[in-house]
Symmetry: C2
Subunit: 384 residues, 2 copies
């Protein structure tokens, strides 16, 4: 029982988290891949677009033929054809020639620029007046301008955004290898906690953590599996944790609010087959009672029962674990972005522990200020 009360630093816990390996991948249809985590680097199998393409409606030209032309001194080119969309032009351009082309059309051989239709006038069936000079490369996209064969375009671990799906589509990846979503069992405990449908009497409150954690798990890329509310009862908790361990890669148990509750959580976790205690107590506020036990392939996490502390501990420890299982970096609060700001007032801080303080960002005379929210620890309204 020795490691029981060896409180660790946040950095020590994160060093352990970085050692967690990703779950196996799975293949999904491209239309279902949004928000999922790319499992392998995306390497361009071929150049993109693969041919020179017009970026504007107008005329494909040899740029040199337009040098020096202007509104007052236009030039005249011979129209030799029109580029059909989706086809390689059957003709090439010689000096003094041009061809009608639409946005996205393939440039004919010999053309090296596009003149926008706004700067031209068709004089007859064969003659086009050009009133603006073009430089080589104007209004076109080169054969490798989107991507070059062999280039790494997206790195494994990328959460796929709309534009990433577009890139995968452009390269013909109708199915994509993505990280499997970790299944996360969610258990709430506490003798004073009632289901959401119940009407609390004096001293009682409704179960909040099941709902905050389920959605936080979803937003972190996991699949929440709600196991419900269990009283501070050792046998019932052991059975529910065992159930969760049988099917879920991660189990979150929040609560244990009675004074012996935290020890109860550790006892329940350590009674599971193959249980190994990794963390019991962290020098951090809130989140100090965090417990992490590995049992076989499953991770059992004990989170504070107090609702705001529970969510902070989730983002600080549980979300990085989910990210590691998904093959991502596992930075705490990584999904939120970072900003630096000046504290609007001094904050006392206890030596020897990290503190996470909720703040409201505001601006004053061009300086970004972080205004600490001094709600009580349980004030969920202090989580904006």
């Amino acid at each position: 029982m020795k490691p029981f009360f060896q409180v660790q630093t946040v950095a020590q816990v994160h060093a352990r988290l970085r050692a967690v390996s990703p779950l196996p991948n799975e293949q999904v249809d491209l239309l279902e891949a949004g928000g999922r985590t790319l499992a392998q680097d995306l390497i361009a199998p071929h150049d993109l677009p693969g041919f020179a393409r017009a970026c504007m409606d107008g005329y494909a030209v040899q740029a040199v033929d337009t040098f020096g032309v202007s509104e007052s001194l236009p030039g005249y080119l011979t129209l030799v054809g029109e580029v059909a969309m989706g086809q390689a032009p059957a003709f090439g351009l010689g000096p003094g020639q041009c061809a009608r082309i639409g946005t996205g059309g393939m440039l004919p051989q010999g053309a090296d620029a596009v003149v926008m239709v706004e700067h031209t006038r068709a004089l007859d069936q064969e003659t086009v007046e050009v009133s603006r000079a073009a430089a080589p490369g104007n209004h076109l996209l080169g054969p490798r301008d989107d991507a070059q064969a062999g280039q790494v375009l997206l790195a494994a671990g990328q959460v796929l955004r709309p534009q990433d799906l577009g890139l995968l589509a452009a390269l013909g990846q109708a199915r994509v290898a993505v990280a499997s979503r970790p299944r996360v069992g969610i258990i709430s405990t506490g003798d004073e906690v009632l289901p959401v449908e119940a009407c609390p009497g004096p001293g009682q409150v409704r179960d909040v953590n099941t709902y905050t954690l389920a959605q936080a798990v979803r937003e972190a890329g996991g699949q929440p599996m709600v196991l419900g509310l269990v009283g501070d009862d050792e046998a019932a908790l052991k059975a529910t944790v065992a159930d969760s361990l049988a099917t879920n890669q991660v189990t979150l148990l929040s609560g244990g609010s009675s004074m012996g509750g935290r020890d109860l959580t550790a006892q329940v976790f350590l009674s599971q087959p193959g249980a190994e205690l990794l963390v019991h107590g962290v020098a951090v506020a809130p989140g100090k009672p965090f417990i992490w036990v590995k049992a076989g392939q499953g991770h059992l996490l004990g989170l504070p029962g107090q609702v705001a502390s529970c969510l902070v501990a989730f983002h600080l420890f549980a979300e990085p674990l989910l990210e590691r299982l998904l093959g991502r970096a596992g930075e705490p609060f990584g999904r939120f972005g970072r900003q630096s700001a000046r504290l609007s007032r001094n904050l006392p801080s206890a030596p020897g522990r990290e503190e996470y303080v909720r703040v409201r960002l505001c601006a004053q005379n061009g300086t970004r200020l972080a205004e600490p929210l001094f709600g009580k620890a349980t004030a969920w309204c202090a989580c904006p």
Copy 2:
């Protein structure tokens, strides 16, 4: 045909968007409400937590009994009981008395503070030594500290986050009224565009917009309904748009890449029963060819075929429309947040139109810089 070529400003289009009314609501289970849009203000039906609650493990006291005590000069209180979790204590506190209490426990009558267990020592069954003074209110949460009956806690239009679900749970809202998700038909067109599984020949590209738009719709709170790829063929387009209009509140048609394609899109939209042209062309780059036709209760939007322009036009016009249908504010790019930054170099800009330029944010000597990405218009890699 008069309004056909009356190019509107972005502000004019947004004024029209603000006139769009929300779709009817629906009730969902609280566990399914994450990411949905709250349809009605959440008003606290009762005080929260409704009773004074300990925020720490320790002893409930009358603060006045601890005034002046310290490590070197501790005070002594008589232990009169222990508060059971989830129950109203059957006893009250008189002067000089204290009661054991766990985090979340209900304070007995007469108690007005909690002393943390770390600052106490149980001397015998009846006597507790206190070595730190408490002020009234220390380490407790008052009956209305979380919420006061009648207070508006969440406003209609709020996209529900984990902590919002927690708040709804605390107030017993097992089911929630949320905005219905708009169904959005997605059609890609263009003779040069092939399905993602195909191998493009010269002059051909794969369908990208179906995938970017489907995920962008999902992230904006809509339900994408993929109708697939249609050639630049008037009859086929009319039929597919009619299909979409029959079941979807919004239809997105991207492309029409041939030089006559944009007129074709307008023609196809205006051929639908009850069609009314709201916008045809906007003084903006990219996104100029944007078309908006209302046909009955359905909105038909024409977006540029070029993949980066298509996504910008989506965020600029289609996403605000979806937000309005969801009962939200409908700010363009509202979901992304705003930051001000200094341009890293001068950008020329055409008079009379708004320009949306993709930039990369970086910092230099403490100044936030926006570095314009001068990719070609089609470079999707320029959408980070």
